[in-house]
Amino acid sequence: MNTLSLWFHKFGSPPTFYRLSRLLCPWLFAAACLIGAVGLYAGLVLAPADYQQSDAYRIIFIHVPCAWMSLFAYIFMAANAFIAVVWRIKISEILAMTSAPVGAMFTAVTLLTGAIWGKPMWGTWWTWDARLTSELVLLFLYLGVIGLYSAIEDRRQAARAASFLGLIGIVNVPIVHFSVNWWNTLHQGSTVRLLGPSRIDASMLWPLLLMALATHIWFFASVLARSRTSVLEQESGKEWVREIVQAQGVRHG
């Protein structure tokens, strides 16, 4: 066994994972809120109005980071699902299953804020173009994973079955991303590009990137918080869980 998988096994051991995530969670949530607050202030107050869309474009500061997260969460989920299906590592099963509801939340916010943005600018809440439709399919994939996971009694079997579904759904991710290039869509092309210059003024770009950073941190905070509970639930027969519950149960009553 090489060092990487050795490290993985150590971090992946449920008690270590539980303690580490309990330590990290509050800090991650606090960092996300702090960076998000600066980003929102910058986006709503400091960034100038757009030449075409005036102040309506400010929806970008939540719509675009959430849209990025909807894809990022899916890739994170699929990567863990892959490990879960092939290596059957418990923590990966849990991480894959807990990232689904967080990703679904970001996808739903993306669709809702997109509709609210579309009404005044495009003139419609919804249209069946390739970008909007594939993003809706993404939401259904998340809901399918969540539904399948809760439909099967045995937690580990449920996780592996739902992981399998999520893994196959990964083919939708490039479709969402490239839909605006492959087809004629009402939705415009990508504004922020990794390769080549972004098509947004610097004064509007930095609040957007701050918001993106905040939502990424939030995602990990939320996934860790959810996974911690799942670990406790699935390991409920173990001695270390008994110790933690007895220490915490007194406080919670």
Binding site: W87, I168, T191, I200, D201
Partner: protein, 153 residues
């Protein structure tokens, strides 16, 4: 890696490749039917079946907007190669203006397009107002054609 894991890895890999291939084929097959819109030159070339309801997409030609009684409006949609006159009776989106990309749904009536819905497509550029003004001023000074669609440098 144990043989069972290797077998699972190969299985998952094969299934993923199959799923990707199937999706690619579906996408390629849909490409022909998934035409969200037609451009004016495509319509003039006769690519649209007679009497079909479809979407037309292009730019509003500079100075072509004629406003009639109440909400009636007529304008020319162009894609550079072909022009198409569009007539519409209804509320236009806020972004509707000269040189703006628009998508109209409706059908052909004689040689013009009768729209039941007009949507504005906005581009991926976000520029503060004063920067946009300064840029168009500089463009005019150097005889560069001013376009709303010019990407930010």
């Amino acid at each position: 890696m144990t043989p069972t894991r290797k077998r699972r890895l190969i299985m998952i890999g094969a299934i993923l490749i199959a799923a990707a291939a199937a999706t690619t084929l579906i996408v390629l097959a849909l490409q022909q039917n998934m035409t969200y819109l037609f451009t004016p030159s495509e319509i003039l070339a006769g690519k649209v079946p007679d009497g079909a309801r479809f979407r037309i997409g292009g730019m509003v030609k500079q100075g072509s907007v004629e406003r009639g009684q109440s909400l009636t409006v007529a304008f020319v949609v162009t894609d550079g190669d072909g022009d198409m006159r569009v007539e519409y009776n209804g509320i236009l989106p806020d972004l509707f203006r000269d040189n703006q990309s628009v998508i109209a749904t409706g059908s052909m009536q004689g040689n013009h397009f009768l729209a039941t819905e007009v949507l504005a497509k906005h581009d991926e550029n976000y520029v503060p107002r004063d920067v946009a003004e300064a840029m168009s001023k500089a463009h005019r000074k150097h005889d560069v054609p001013v376009e709303a669609d010019k990407p930010t440098p």
